[in-house]
């Protein structure tokens, strides 16, 4: 957004004020996340910077919180559970969600709005209500406090994301490609696997990633539908914050931030690949 040459002094002042305000808001967004990184190395079990840290004295820093995270039985169980639950719920939700998106994007789908609404509902309904409802019902059928219960619950919460992302991918999908394949003699199944799938894979993977993160980061439903045996990383963090905040939480938080950054990079690369494949170049 370049300043036009004909800008007056007032406009220039406004412009720079505006840029400053934006910078402050961006700082507001990113500062809390960055602050965690140094705090996780605090030698004292405080949640703030000690004066030794500010003077960059080396013995004010330590990696013992990371060690505690890696050796604690509670955290180890939490990491294991987080990955197992997220993995299986992602598989289920990506599979079902992609199928549904394929169906929904067909041109003459009946009752599209209603069905779409129902399928999106897990995303709209406040988490506490979903958690409460699932707690009551899963208790009745004996799924409360089981891994399967949590996996199913998370899959249900994740499917809307898959449906939305894959549907969005499919709206840009050029159906003439499938017709071209058919006209060249390809059977519908063959077309599906060799034409449709490669083109929607980025959307499916994005949806899958959304699903994975939804499950990995989810805490309210796990607290109600799961029990101590299904404790996940967010569960441990939540109990840890409520009771005694030790910087181990900060160490875990840093690791999670690193994962988010990796995820962002991955998604960006995916997006560029899609644009390349579709022949769209950024302008």
């Amino acid at each position: 957004m370049a300043l036009p040459i004909h800008a007056t002094l007032t406009e220039r002042i406004w412009h720079y004020c505006f840029l400053t305000i934006c910078a402050l808001i961006f700082a507001f967004l990113i500062f809390p996340i960055l602050i965690i990184l140094p705090l996780s190395f605090n030698a004292q079990p405080f949640f703030s910077f000690t004066s030794e840290m500010l003077h960059l004295q080396p013995d004010a820093f330590t990696t013992k919180w990371y060690e505690e995270f890696l050796t604690s039985r509670n955290w180890q169980g939490a990491v294991k559970n987080s990955f197992i639950i997220a993995f299986f719920s992602t598989i289920i939700s990506t599979f079902l969600g992609t199928l549904a998106a394929l169906g929904l994007s067909r041109p003459d789908f009946p009752f599209k709005t209603t069905i779409m609404g129902l399928l999106i509902s897990p995303m709209v309904v406040p988490l506490i209500i979903s958690a409460a409802g699932m707690f009551f019902f899963y208790s009745r059928v004996g799924l409360q406090g089981t891994h399967i219960g949590v996996i199913l619950a998370h899959a249900a919460l994740a499917t809307p994301f898959v449906v939305i992302t894959v549907t969005a991918t499919l709206t840009g999908f050029d159906h003439s490609l499938t017709r071209a394949a058919a006209s060249l003699g390809s059977s519908p199944t063959h077309t599906f696997f060799h034409v449709t799938v490669p083109l929607i894979i980025p959307g499916v993977i994005s949806g899958g990633l959304f699903a994975f993160i939804t499950s990995f980061d989810e805490v309210v439903v796990v607290l109600f539908v799961g029990s101590y045996n299904q404790r996940t990383i967010p569960w441990q963090m939540f109990s840890g914050i409520r009771e005694q905040i030790s910087p181990t939480i900060m160490a875990v938080a840093t690791i999670l931030i690193m994962i988010s950054v990796a995820l962002l990079v991955f998604l960006e690369l995916m997006r560029r690949r899609t644009e390349r494949l579709r022949g769209i170049t950024p302008h």
């Binding site: 934006c22 808001i25 996340i33 779409m116 406040p126 409802g133 199913l152 619950a153 969005a168 962002l264």
Partner: protein, 421 residues
């Protein structure tokens, strides 16, 4: 070749085209429905039915029939307006039901349930259960029960039992609106010191409005910036929005705890630069302020992203055209740009509002007692007070509120147009 009747066009295999077309279209619909069916069934069973189950619990009162099978039958003969106690048969049923319930140790659950309506019932049931084992009814069950506790001779006790003897009860919804049924059946508001939910709903809505307003104020400038710079720059800057978006909610909340504490980073900075004294540190956490600040930060990306996608569709030439026709930058902005972004503000605002009123984790951790929202109380009733009926009633009310907002969102934006950046 002109015929008297219209020629029926057929396809290659002799079937009329209309029929063939109908069949083909129906095939397509079937395939489409079949593709959606698995997910639909899945969401139905794992999600929709549980929600429905919760709605049922908000009115379910089957515990009365389960624990007091005899009394529920006998009390039908007793009139709510009556000034006399129920008859001996009812008291005998009471003794019998208590003997069974005390032996199986289930009767106290009914006592707890009735206690939600009238305090002292839990104690009454507990005491009666302890003493009923040794009770030998010689003549009058009524006298025997009143001897165990005077409250059995109190007509209010019996009015309560009669009111709550049906299979369904509206008392949970009444409690959710801070009302209660009186002895004579009329409704009234609870005493001042017991009223909490209406004000809690107001607080939730008020705070959510504040947070939504703040996200609009903060989100608009940066969405504008992102939509007007070069794509390469915006791709870099948008990471500053996406990274918080993708970061775990708990991570962001715990960083705010570290920042806002009395001995936290922000207070340390303020003291360090001399703005406030060391004993005057700001209390920014465990109160409403903490909730507002933390939730604004967490929900800001949800405002920025929809605004950004709307703003990107506004051609910059419109503003330039307005300027060229003599408008000041301010007028051009207010009368040309802003109206076109209203859809984005609406979309982002409703989304943020819906998310805010349902939040649980952040208020639980940084809200203290003054900054907690309705969802915290729902959680309290599920896991601590175990008043599941009330939790379900509060949850249903919240759900209806969200549904109303969602319908509004659909009108403004359309579900099919929802994008996730």
């Amino acid at each position: 070749m002109a015929n008297a009747e219209a020629e029926v066009i057929t396809t290659a295999d002799g079937v009329p085209l209309k029929e063939s077309l109908k069949k083909a279209l129906w095939q397509r619909k079937k395939t489409a429905l079949l593709l959606v069916a698995p997910l639909f069934l899945f969401v139905l069973i794992t999600f929709l039915i549980p929600i429905f189950d919760m709605l049922i619990r908000s009115v379910d009162n089957s515990i009365a029939g389960e624990q007091f099978p005899g009394v529920v039958v006998e009390i039908r003969n007793w009139d709510l307006d009556s000034t006399e106690l129920p008859n001996e048969a009812t008291f005998q049923a009471l003794v019998d039901d208590f003997k069974v319930g005390a032996k199986e140790k289930t009767i106290s659950r009914l006592g707890r349930r009735l206690n939600y309506e009238q305090s002292g019932m839990s104690g009454l049931f507990r005491k009666t259960a302890r003493k009923i084992k040794k009770l030998e009814v010689t003549e009058s069950p009524m006298a025997a029960m009143i001897a165990i506790d005077k409250k059995w001779g109190n007509i209010d006790t019996w009015r309560l039992i009669k009111r709550e003897s049906g299979k369904y009860s509206s008392s949970y919804y009444l409690a959710a609106f801070d009302a209660e049924k009186n002895s004579d059946g009329s409704f009234s508001m609870k005493s001042e010191d017991r009223r909490v939910y209406v004000s809690l709903f107001w607080r939730t809505i008020r705070l959510s409005f504040t947070i939504t307003f703040l996200t609009i104020i903060l989100g608009y400038p940066i969405a504008y910036l992102l939509s007007t710079v070069k794509t390469k720059t915006s791709n870099m800057l948008i990471i500053l929005v996406l990274l918080p978006f993708w970061t775990s909610l708990l991570v962001r909340t715990s960083s705010w705890i570290a920042l806002l504490q009395k001995e936290g980073v922000i207070n340390d900075i303020l003291v360090g630069i001399g703005l406030i004294g060391d004993d005057n540190r700001l209390a920014m956490i465990h109160n409403e302020t903490g909730t507002i600040i933390a939730m604004t930060h967490i929900l800001l990306p949800f405002m920025v992203l929809p605004l950004f996608s709307v703003m990107k569709t506004i051609p910059p030439s419109w503003v330039r055209a307005a300027r060229s026709m003599g408008a000041t930058p301010f007028t051009a902005f207010v009368r040309v740009y802003l109206p076109n972004t209203v859809a984005g503000i609406g979309a982002g605002g409703i989304l943020v509002f819906i998310l805010a009123i349902g939040y649980y984790i952040t208020p639980a951790l940084v809200g203290g007692t003054k900054g907690t929202l309705i969802s915290n109380f729902i959680a309290y009733h599920i896991s601590t007070s175990l008043n599941w009926g009330l939790a379900a009633a509060l949850g249903t009310i919240l759900l209806l509120l969200v549904l109303a907002l969602y319908i509004l969102y659909d009108k403004v934006v359309g579900i099919n147009n929802m994008k996730l950046g």
